[in-house]
């Protein structure tokens, strides 16, 4: 025989608290506080807490948040979309990135995210009225154990694959390798031109690219890195593969480069 449950009605998930005009009232419980700030996390993962609610009298209800929804808080680490925040876990580098106020993604650490989560939980605890029990908000759910569990879930909830910072992606990050690749595409389009009778050597292209990158305030690339990147870009833009048998008539040595391509002279 199934055990008889008593007082199940005292365990509550989030319910919107509206006034007689249908407007949402100022948050009186941790559930309301978080859902008002993170509605998307609520839509996707449900109520932040399970509350034990005790009705003391006609006007007073005591709330004791007794269980936490880790998935909701992993989504909270993703930031508030209404404020333009965005945090991702970039799987190819196993690294968290956040979108800063300048709209550029910058790397951050798991420890910093844990501190942020604890601060948000503390802010909620501080803003709660007397009738909310704050022990779990302050102590239990700010423990290392809970932070680790939330961060672990955040890795999959906030996961982004390599296309997030891909060459054609609108997302920019600070000093990522794809910045050079984007510049290389612009370089190939603007500074190179198809010409059947011309030869562009790898050395010429490398030197020209570094000059171009300098104008964009980018650091100089190693020649080996440049070679693998530009070969791909030129192949895609002009359908030309790199050749290692181009003869330099002055030195009589074989050189690497592209036949059918030339550098465009830029107007000063």
């Amino acid at each position: 025989m199934a055990p008889e449950l008593s007082k199940t009605q005292s365990l509550k998930l989030y319910e919107p608290n509206v006034n007689e005009y249908g407007q949402i009232k100022a948050a009186q419980t941790p559930n309301e506080w978080f859902v008002q700030r993170y509605p998307l996390a609520f839509n996707n993962h449900g109520s932040p807490f399970l509350d034990a609610v005790e009705v003391l009298d006609k006007h007073t209800r005591q709330t004791f948040p007794c269980s936490i929804n880790l998935d909701f808080f992993a989504a909270v680490l993703g930031g508030r979309r209404d404020l333009g925040h965005h945090v991702i876990y970039y799987e190819p580098e196993m690294q968290f990135y956040f979108k800063d106020a300048d709209n550029i993604y910058k790397s951050t650490t798991q420890e910093k995210l844990a501190i942020q989560y604890r601060a948000v939980m503390m802010k909620c605890a501080e803003m709660m009225p007397q009738h909310v029990h704050k022990l779990n908000l302050f102590h239990e759910w700010r423990s290392e154990k809970v932070c680790k569990a939330i961060l672990q879930r955040a890795k999959s909830i906030l996961a982004a694959d390599s296309s997030f910072f891909g060459v054609s992606s609108p997302h920019e990050r600070i000093a990522g390798p794809e910045i050079h690749q984007r510049i290389a595409q612009v370089f190939a389009q603007q500074l190179l031109k198809a010409d059947q009778n011309s030869i562009l050597t790898l050395s010429q292209a490398y030197s020209l690219f570094n000059q171009f990158a300098k104008t964009k305030e980018l650091p100089v690339l190693k020649r080996s890195q440049f070679k693998s990147m530009i070969c791909e870009v030129i192949k895609e833009a002009y359908g030309l593969g790199v050749r290692n048998d181009l003869m330099n008539t002055e030195t009589n040595k074989q050189m690497a480069g592209w036949k059918g391509l030339r550098a465009v002279e830029l107007a000063a």
Binding site: R81, L83, K106, V120
Partner: protein, 60 residues
């Protein structure tokens, strides 16, 4: 109702909301930034209202 008809009070209300949002946003982002990282300069009244309006537009 009074705020909606008085342009000065309306702007003050918009400014208060925008400043609150900016302060919360910066509070949030500062946890993720490293020491010494360049922080955005404090926007003036018009800039912060514009920033808040652009967020609202994007969210709709």
């Amino acid at each position: 109702m009074f705020n909606e008809t008085n342009p000065y009070l309306k702007k003050q209300e918009m400014l208060r909301k925008a400043r609150d949002a900016w302060a919360y946003s910066e509070w949030f982002l500062n946890f993720l930034r490293t020491q010494g990282a360049e922080k955005p300069k404090q926007p003036n009244d018009d800039e912060v209202i514009l920033w808040h309006q652009s967020l609202a537009k994007r969210n709709h």
